[in-house]
């Protein structure tokens, strides 16, 4: 089972390495408890397995959020007679959900067996729930988007006209499912033994909801004329602020594993996300009237959302690969339950 080239930590006594923890604490994290000075593991090997997922999955998370937010924008656009926003929203939603779906399929070990997902409906499996959500959402978003495209052709005939006619109801349907599409992915991650994801379970839906709003709003800001973009801007800014605030709370409740958000690849994504999202908010608030600034702000917010998904994904992977994040909190829990003071 050992991967080739793995350089295990070999201790001189050939025995169990003791790991120093407590280095590399997230800076400026007043709530972090001082972890035990050392902990025991089996040759520093992971206790839980990191997901086998690759970059497709954070992309999938992002795109799902983008799609969901876009559907909401589209609905608002339709309701408030902002055709550009509506049109952008529907097309973006469909494009994003299609890519998201492709990413998901790409990550399967046996893509040809994709449809086996539809064998069962399992509320205990966020992926099953998600699959069914997507199974509902995808066609509706597709119909809505195609309807937009069909509606824009000069003289619609037959099927095209039908599509065009259906885009309204399809859009409504997609909109009803969209919020769930945006947040179920949080459960998808949290419903695992991956320490960082699991520890983030309370706030992650809000982070992802905010992130979805920021991404969709941001992208709309960048593409929709300023005249119709105000709700998108509000949504983007509101989403971004939610995303930032929820993450702040989340990092606290994550405890030890929040470290993984500030170190390594995840740390880099996380910093990018904060800068990008924060900057996006400032830009959006200050440059609402400027097309250029709006585009910049929108792209920054979208990027921020994208980076947030990657940060959280990578943090989870890193937290699974280092046994410290599995063992230390569990040991503390046990010791606390046994009435021992953690040392």
């Amino acid at each position: 089972m050992t991967g080739p080239g793995r350089q295990p930590e070999m201790s001189l006594d050939g025995g169990t390495p003791r790991h120093r923890a407590g280095r590399r604490r997230g800076r400026g994290d007043p709530n972090a408890t001082v972890p035990p000075a050392d902990f025991t593991s089996y040759y520093g090997r992971p206790v839980v397995k990191a997901s086998p997922w690759e970059k497709d999955i954070p992309a999938y998370l992002f795109l799902g959020g983008l799609a969901a937010g876009s559907s909401l924008l589209a609905a608002g656009g339709a309701a408030s007679d902002r055709p550009a926003l509506r049109r952008h929203g529907r097309i973006t939603a469909f494009a994003a959900i299609s890519l998201s779906f492709a990413a998901l399929v790409h990550d399967l070990g046996r893509p040809s067996r994709l449809l086996n997902m539809l064998r069962v409906i399992k509320p205990t499996s966020p992926m099953s729930v998600g699959t069914w959500l997507l199974a509902g959402y995808g066609p509706l978003a597709g119909a809505a988007a195609l309807g937009e495209l069909a509606g824009s052709t000069p003289r619609g005939r037959g099927p095209l006209r039908l599509l065009s006619a259906l885009r309204g109801p399809a859009g409504v349907g997609a909109t009803l499912i969209a919020p769930a599409v945006a947040t179920y992915t949080a459960v998808l991650l949290s419903d695992t033994a991956t320490p960082a994801w699991s520890a983030a379970r309370k706030e992650l839906p809000f982070v992802f909801a905010g992130s979805a709003a920021a991404a969709a709003g941001g992208l709309a800001m960048a593409t929709v004329p300023v005249s119709q973009a105000a709700p998108a801007r509000r949504m983007a800014v509101g989403g971004a602020l939610t995303e930032l605030a929820a993450q702040q709370v989340m990092e606290r409740s994550m405890g030890l594993s929040s470290e993984t958000l500030s170190t390594g690849i995840a740390g880099r994504w996380h910093r990018l996300a904060r800068v990008s999202t924060g900057g996006g908010v400032v830009l959006a608030l200050t440059g609402a009237r400027s097309r250029t600034l709006s585009v910049l702000a929108g792209l920054a917010l979208t990027t921020g959302s994208f980076a947030t998904r990657f940060a959280i994904f990578e943090a989870g992977q890193a937290s699974a690969r280092d046994p410290r994040y599995t063992i230390v909190p569990q040991r503390e829990r046990l010791d606390a339950a046994a009435g021992e003071t953690p040392h």
Binding site: P8, M10, S11, L12, D13, G14, G15
Partner: protein
Amino acid sequence: PVGFQWVMEAKARGATVIHVDPRYTRTSAVADIHAPIRAGGDIAFLGGIIHYILSRELDFREYVTAYTNAADIITDRFIDTEDLDGLFSGFDPEGRKYDTSTWQYEGASEAAAAGNRSQHDTASDTSAGDQHGSGGPAISRAEVHRDETLQHPRCVFQILKRHFARYTPDMVERVSGCPQDVFATICEAVTRNSGRDRTTAWVYSVGWTHHSVSIQYIRSAAILQLLLGNMGRPGGGIMALRGHASIQGSTDIPTLFNLLPGYLPMPKSSQPDDLDGYAQGMIGDKQKGYWANAKAYTVSLLKSYFGDAATADNDFGFRWLPKISGDHGTYQTTLDMLDGKIPGYFVVGENPAVGSAHGKLQRLAMAKLEFLVVRDLAMIETATFWKDSPEIGTGELRTEDIGTEVFVFPAAAHTEKNGSFTNTQRMLQWHHQAVEPPGDARSELHFFYHLGRRLRAKLADSTDPRDQPMHALTWDYPTEGPLAEPKAEAVLMEINGYGPEGDLSSYLELKDDGSTACGCWIYCGVGAGGVNQAARRKPGAEQSWVAPEWGWAWPANRRILYNRASADPAGKPWSERKAYVWWDEEAGSWTGHDVPDFEATKRPDYRAPADAEGPAALNGDDPFVMQADGKGWLYAPSGLLDGPLPTHYEPQESPVRNALYGQQANPTRQVYIRDENPSHPSADEPGADVYPYVFTTYRLTEHHTAGGMSRGLPYLAELQPAFFVEVSPELAAERHLQHGAWCHLVTARAAVEARVLVTRRVTPLKMGGRLVHQIGVPYHWGQNGLTTGDSANDLFGLALDRNVHIQESKVASCDIRPGRRPRGPALIAYIAASRDKAGITPETGNTALTSPAWRGLSERAEADAHNNPGGA
């Protein structure tokens, strides 16, 4: 591991498990006590326990007095190692051998002991134990003197006491490195667990046997067990855990050069070429015990070989048996090959290129053959040495120069053929064929039967007298199946034997008149009633705890040998708990859980008449019925070539000086003083510091011996995928060895590279103020298979035990250095440089006598003995 389940079961039932091993192994991990010890230190260790017993009188006195030769008095010409600085009386430094006549019982006529019995050369180039077969060596029937009070200064008991007097805990620690408190705990545990109500077993395998003093290791355990009354009793004994499947079988029906089936000695060219002379030599005058029937066993064997052609008139074909003229053991044969004396070599289920000591010598020797036949399951290094041996890499061998024609025959594995395994308990278990062998693979039985058939056909017209045995041979086994496979059970029944009334059922039925035929007398009964008794598999739960109906054990399905000793001299069990075999007064016979190893109706109080012979000459309380005097031998007056008592000697190569005697190593060890076989200087000799570390070789559970059966199997190879050596953190620091990185070991023979495993399971031992580092080296690797690596056996030279010619592969000295070894011709230069640095010549390390004091002492001692003939 499968065998170890019984150790675990014993532990679960409350047994204390003690493990004596240089390394802390998987066995140590589950043992109650692990005694770390320097490789080669066991005689000191066991001697220390013997000393502990004797000095505190903790021996099982009643048992010792009645059943051992403790009371026997030894001649006054015997001088002990204590008085000769590590040698026994009778040493001949030029011949490197002992004249054993001074070791005899008093009263045994010296002529009889030394000369009369031609079989019993007092010193011999051939192996010793096999001179006498499964019976002890003959001793003279002249009256042996005994002192039942054990007070006579020359009685065995007192000699023993003096011999081991200096094996104190302090000395044990100085010699073996075993810490005194651990040692004390063990002494206490062993003695407390022996006696009427409890027994202790010693289990050993090659940690004790691969030494130049190997036989004496086992002798030490024998003394210990006799003193504690642990022989012939349930839960006692000395268990040799034999290695290869049926390696026990291949000594019973031997693949050894110096034995015939059933431990009958191989006839020698130096002896009279007639049956009576042979039998007489084996048995001696008026021999006591069952060995007296050895002639019947021999005749029956000859009848089974030659059938009708064996008649009383032609000595039953005795003259057709090949005669040996010296040592034809595996290492001597290798050297003879090297010297061009041997044209052809059959290697059947063995991989000497990897498995035998001094691998390079093995390979160079095979390159000198005309032909080589290899029968194996895998393409082993022995079969491919001509194209990919390390010597091809260094340029010492070139494929185009090697004239050896190699024939490789794929062999059928045990699952692909019928047959029997004999295990360490002497138990035969039948295995049935499960599948047909693949492709051209055939069983050994097939190969040899059809080879014999073809040879006989070729020689059918020959009138050459030397082909006579081939004509006379019975060679007519029924065959079965599409491959014309000889019926294995037919062979088994031939081994079992038959008489006028059909299949025999016991060796007691064997006759020396030619009316019975038996392929191996000790196996007689395995086919009793025409039934393959070895195939019995009655579950343990359905029979007594001795499980007599599982397989069949020789002799006579007896599970514990010498079990008469499980009862006291009066025939009553020593204790209820340990009752095994006892005298039933009402029935007038021996009875119990096992087949009694005694004449069934001989009363415990039977006293043999003075002129009795054979079994009848044994008293009713002489349990060791195969021994010439019916006693367990604490002291072996004959039969061994290197001393009547075990004595600690250092190995051939040792960084340590013998702390007990001026004599460093076993003076009779077999060495080969040749350029190809350099040895290291030892202890304080100049150059010894070039090889400052002790290394030992051993097995990993995950691999099998020379690796042919494991290195090529993915599921085993992945479990131990690299040749590694185990070193202590201290040694790693001293030699800058990095955990997981490469290192190489250097001896005067080779440099081999391996990965470093730094582990606390290996500890340097403190001995007499100095620190001795040991290196653990598993020996499974070679160049073929899925996991490949250098071969540990290339590190060794040849130094053998004199008695049985076993190689000293459990201990030698070496250097260890970080990094990989040089390659190609640079490797040869590298090793040569090391040799030069140590100033090694062929003579180095091979001096027989190293005691400076010996000559003076022995002259004085002999003079004393002469002046004071009666002893003290």
